[in-house]
Each structure stands twice: as structure tokens, then as C-alpha cells.
Amino acid sequence: MIAKAPKSSRETILAKIRAALPQSAPLPELEATGPWQTFEDREARFSEVLKFVGGQTVHVKTVAEADAHLRTLEPWAKGKVRCTMVPGLGDTTFDLKAINDPHQLENVDYAVLRGHFCVAENGAIWVTDDTVHHRVLYFIPQHISLVVPASQIVNNMHEAYARIRIGEHRFAGFISGPSKTADIEQSLVIGAHGARSLTVYLIDEL
């Protein structure tokens, strides 16, 4: 059998779609300040939802205070291989810049990473690849912390998308809680493939 050239399939598919001609319909306007859910206390809502999805929020004034708190966390203290993207918060036990292959990050126990802002409605934090050397750092460490300026909490996803420029980063995303699964009899288990715990530091002076 002769394989069809990809080009021709493209033309065939597009021609078929054009022939289908569904009735035209207007694209809804989507304003960030639409009739969407807002919260009087965004931080309280964020913390509550993050707790519900298995994470924890710690609000501190300074990076030094966050550092002191991090050192009390068992996964950090027990972790042998650690790294941080926030100077003064935790430490880095290996030469991160020397890592060319993300596979070398396989044994990272704890990573302290930057988040840009939080979303109150669903406990999500927006992260982008320009703050890490390898995007897999959000997913491969056994435990992670995300560090966000305390003032940066939006109400909902509409406000979130209004402030980010999608496409600016090759990788970006929302992270809401530690990795989890309920694939065995609907029993929730924290720590599926990604981080086993997520601690979010909201810092006033960052």
C-alpha cells in the first residue's frame, strides 16, 4: 500500500470541513471582570482550596522567615539533594548550572521554585519555564515549594488569563496541590508521579 503524503491529507481534511459548513455563530466576549466569582478574602479562599487539594500555605513577612519555616519541614530536612530558585530560601546541594540533561535531576528530593501568582477560586499557582533551568523541575522532585509574592492573588481564572501572555513561554502552567491519583477504587492517594507535597510560601517582602 502506498502511504498518502501528509500534505494531501491536510487538503482533504480542510476541504471536508469547509464542505460541512456548520451555521456561523458569534464568539462570546470574555471580559476578565465579567459576572465571575470573586472573594472578599482571596488569600483565605486560596489557602482553604489548596488545603482541600492536599497542599499547604504559609504566609510570612520575609524570605528569612520562610527559610526558617522551610528548615522545620521534614521532607526538606531529610532531603539529601536539594535546590532553590529563591536566594536565601533553602539551599542548593549540587551545581544546577552544570546540569545539561534533565535526567540528572532524577534524584532531587526538594526544590524551592518561583510561582508568579495564585488563583483564589481553585488553589492554582501560575509557573513558567524562564524561572527554572529545566521544566521537569516542577514535576520530578519528591517535594516542592512554590514561592509567590503575598500580594499576587487573583480571584478566578478569567483574571488569571487576563494577566498572562500565553505563548510567551514554551512551557507554563497552573499547579494546584501535590500530584495525586484516585485510580485504585477511587481512594485518593497523594504522590502519584510528581511531587508528594506542595508548600506555598506567600511572602510580603519578595
Partner: protein, 460 residues
């Protein structure tokens, strides 16, 4: 085998059928709690539906826009007219890079195209990395649900399967312990993989990128380590603008599992430095469905699975009874549209209760489409004789008042006076798992006439 026969086999194990029913209803209840906690829920559904309707009306234009922008981002875009071409494209990418080991995250499209057996035939080691999919893969089964692939399997059975394949302790069935074992087993696979393959939840025309949602983080680990990322998408996954995601991400996880949002909602707009990213856009019958005014809205589906969790037939007959990649109400539309001969019983695996339509986050008129589909199958002469005959009988009775009244009277009397063994006989399918309600002494017509008479009497 047809759905009724397979469903019969499922309900024969009464205890398991009831357990399955409860497990799914639990998910449905979680969805309800989430939906009711968002005041603008109905507006979100309406908006999502309108965005999808608009996208369909300009599908070709948006696909071209997506292709152009994705290409600018350094993504290689491929087009596949059918499953065969899709599989060939994936294989050719893997061969070009001498890939031996492929890690996959969940993609119902690749199930639809039967990609795994195809690649395995060509010597590629394929590992499904979603926990539920890994379980069904090790058991040599197919997913029975699109979001919860292993919902039909008991933890003891997972324990046995893992004991055999992953060397867990015999008899162990604790989900924490089993998940930990799978985590360690799959970590090793992630690290050894030469390429990662994912599905696509949303593709954005305006920015030329894709969004993938998972809770486990398996898609991100799967594509973050190797140099090749292949993402396979049905062409209907398209959205015009990035901000449309705000609506769909608010709806998806809440509808699917009752979570506020998935743990990871990852936006990919190009390969990592020194790596390759491919997107395969697949038609495989979708443009045919797009042609039909009655059924095109079924392409709006975002694969949340809410219609399955709520469906009284799905919950009690199990996903495998549908013999379809996508089971449940939405699958009972999509599948017979593609293969009406093989799947002619699916539109009848429905009580027309409309619960699926009520929960659908993009407002697909599921039960109405299922009803219309029955007519289509009838026109194609694809309805079984027993079903046709019983319909003829019912229609004959319903169109003759005297006969309807006569039979109604006989039925009411029989239900009251006949001995139990005569009523609950093997021919009475309605009495198999439940008692029939007590028969009223009078028909509705009689009761109504009497009421009118009393009313009239009171006035005069």
C-alpha cells in the same frame, strides 16, 4: 456481542454491579458539590457551548491558524485523515529517532486508533503512565471509562496484578502501597524512555500551543525528560483564544472528578531547547460528523466523563459492555455514527432520562441525539427484529383506545391477583431486580373522570 448481552453478564455479578454503581455515583456527587459552589456555573456552560459552536463554524480557518502559529513556535504539525495514517505518522517519527521505548500519558484518541498494538507490532515498547491505564495495560484490557480507566477493577485485583508484574507483596491491596509501587516502577520507565506521547485537552489557534491536564503529573514527566514529544489530537480539540481556556479549565475538572481544577494544567508552546515537539491533527470520521446538523454538537465533547458517571445504564452495565473506546452516553453517539453495524444497540442503552444532558459542561443535547440516532438506525434497517416487533405491538396498542383500556384493566387485575411466580417469570425483564409497584385499582382515565365529576358536583 451486543450491549444487552454484555450488560447482562455484568449485572449477573450483583455485588460487583452495585459496587460499580456506587463508585460512580460518588464521583457524580463530588461533581454536584463543585458545580453548585460556583454561582455562575450555568453561564459557564452556556459560554463554553457558544465558544464551541463558533469554533465549529470556522473550524478550517482556526486549524490553519493553529498550524501556522504552532509552526512559528517550532512545533511540527502533521495531519492524519484516519487512524491508519495517524499510526504511520507516529511510527515514522519514532523510527527517525530510533526510539525503542515510548512513554504515553492518557489519550483516548490513540485508543481509538489502536496505536499501542500497532507500535508493539513494530517492536516499540509502549508504557502507559497514567496509573489507571497502566493497570488495564498490565491486565491486557482496555479502559472502561475515559477519566477513570480502571474504575471496574477492585483493589484486590490490582494487588494481584501488581504482585505478578511489579513484585508487590502477595495479598497486598492498600491503595497507598500499590500506588507507591507503581510510582517507583513508572519513574524508572520515565527515565529510560526515548520519547513521550500525550493527548491534547485543548489546542489554541491564536497562540499555536496545546494544554494538557493531569492530576498525576505523568504527562509532564513523560515529555519533560526525553527529547521527543508527540501530542495527538482530534481536530475538535481546538479553541480560538487563550482566554477561552479560563472557561474550559473551570468546567473540566469540576465536571470530571469534582476537583476545583486538575493538579497540573500545562501549556506547551514549543519544544525544549535541543528537542522536538510534534502535533498530529486527526480527522478519523470527525469531518463526517461535522456535516450532520443533528449530531455535530457531539464533537463539542471535552471528555470529562460526567455523562458516564451520572448515566443509570453505564453505572449498572460497566464501560466494557459498550465495546467502544468512548463508552457511556457520549460514546453511544460517537461510536454508532462511525460503525453503525457493529454498535447498533448502543443508542438503546439509554432510558432517555436526560441526566447526561443536565451535567454536560458544554451542553451537548445528549439524550436528544441518542433518540434521533435510533431513527437513523431504523432508516438504515439496523434495528433488531425483537425490538422492532415490540415497538410495533406497543404502537398498535397505543393507537387503539379500546385495546389500551382493555389491556390496562387486565394488567391491573393481574398484578393484584396473580400469584407471584406468574408475574415474576423470566419473560418479565422489569421484575428481575425489583418488585413492580402496587397496581392502582383504577386507571388514570377513570380517576380523572371521577375527579372532574366531583369538582363539577361541588360547583352546582
Amino acid at each position: 456481542m451486543a450491549h444487552p448481552a454484555l450488560a447482562q453478564a455484568f449485572v449477573d455479578n450483583r455485588e460487583r454491579a452495585q459496587w460499580h454503581d456506587k463508585a460512580l455515583w460518588f464521583v457524580r456527587e463530588k461533581r454536584d458539590r463543585m458545580a453548585s459552589s460556583v454561582p455562575e456555573w450555568e453561564l459557564l456552560r452556556e459560554t463554553a457551548s457558544n465558544i464551541k459552536r463558533h469554533t465549529q463554524s470556522r473550524m478550517a480557518e482556526y486549524l490553519e491558524q493553529f498550524e501556522a502559529n504552532a509552526t512559528k513556535n517550532g512545533i511540527v504539525v502533521h495531519w492524519a485523515a484516519d487512524a491508519h495514517e495517524h499510526n504511520e505518522i507516529v511510527l515514522s517519527i519514532l523510527r527517525r529517532h530510533s526510539v525503542k521505548r515510548l512513554v504515553k500519558s492518557k489519550s483516548m484518541l490513540t485508543e481509538e486508533c489502536h496505536l499501542n498494538p500497532f507500535l508493539e507490532e513494530h517492536g516499540i515498547d509502549v508504557v502507559d503512565s497514567d496509573l489507571g491505564e497502566r493497570i488495564v495495560q498490565l491486565r491486557k484490557e482496555t479502559p472502561s471509562h475515559i477519566v477513570l480507566p480502571a474504575i471496574h477493577i477492585r483493589k484486590e485485583e490490582v494487588g494481584e496484578c501488581f504482585h505478578e508484574h511489579l513484585g508487590t507483596e502477595k495479598g497486598a491491596s492498600d491503595p497507598n502501597y500499590l500506588t507507591e509501587a507503581a510510582r517507583n516502577h513508572l519513574r524508572e520507565r520515565f527515565c529510560r524512555a526515548d520519547a513521550g506521547l500525550t493527548g491534547v485537552n485543548f489546542a489554541i489557534a491564536e497562540t499555536g500551543g496545546i494544554v494538557i491536564c493531569t492530576n498525576e503529573g505523568n504527562a509532564d514527566l513523560g515529555v519533560g525528560l526525553p527529547k521527543i514529544h508527540i501530542a495527538c489530537m482530534g481536530m475538535e480539540k481546538l479553541l480560538p483564544r487563550a482566554k477561552d481556556l479560563s472557561v474550559f479549565l473551570r468546567l473540566l475538572a469540576r465536571s470530571a472528578t469534582g476537583q476545583p481544577v486538575t493538579t497540573y494544567s500545562s501549556h506547551f508552546h514549543g519544544p525544549q531547547p535541543g528537542c522536538e515537539m510534534h502535533v498530529v491533527i486527526v480527522d478519523n470520521g470527525r469531518s463526517e460528523i461535522l456535516k450532520s446538523p443533528e449530531f455535530r454538537r457531539s464533537l463539542d465533547c471535552i471528555r470529562c466523563g460526567a455523562c458516564m458517571n451520572t448515566c443509570p445504564v453505564y453505572r449498572r452495565s460497566g464501560g466494557h459492555s459498550y465495546e467502544a473506546t468512548v463508552p457511556g452516553p457520549i460514546g453511544s453517539i460517537l461510536t454508532p455514527l462511525q460503525t453503525p453495524e457493529k454498535h447498533n444497540t448502543l443508542p438503546f442503552a439509554c432510558t432517555l432520562c436526560g441526566s447526561c444532558t443536565d451535567v454536560c459542561p458544554v451542553k451537548i443535547d445528549l439524550h436528544q441525539q441518542l433518540f434521533t440516532l435510533r431513527e437513523l438506525l431504523d432508516n438504515k434497517r439496523l434495528i433488531g427484529t425483537s425490538k422492532k416487533l415490540s415497538m410495533k405491538v406497543v404502537s398498535g396498542v397505543m393507537s387503539r383506545t379500546w385495546l389500551f383500556n382493555l389491556l390496562g384493566g387486565i394488567a391491573r387485575a393481574s398484578l393484584r391477583f396473580m400469584p407471584r411466580f406468574l408475574i415474576y417469570n423470566p419473560l418479565n425483564a422489569w421484575g428481575k431486580q425489583r418488585d413492580l409497584p402496587d397496581a392502582p385499582k383504577q386507571s388514570f382515565r377513570q380517576q380523572y373522570a371521577e375527579r372532574q365529576k366531583q369538582k363539577g358536583g361541588g360547583k352546582s
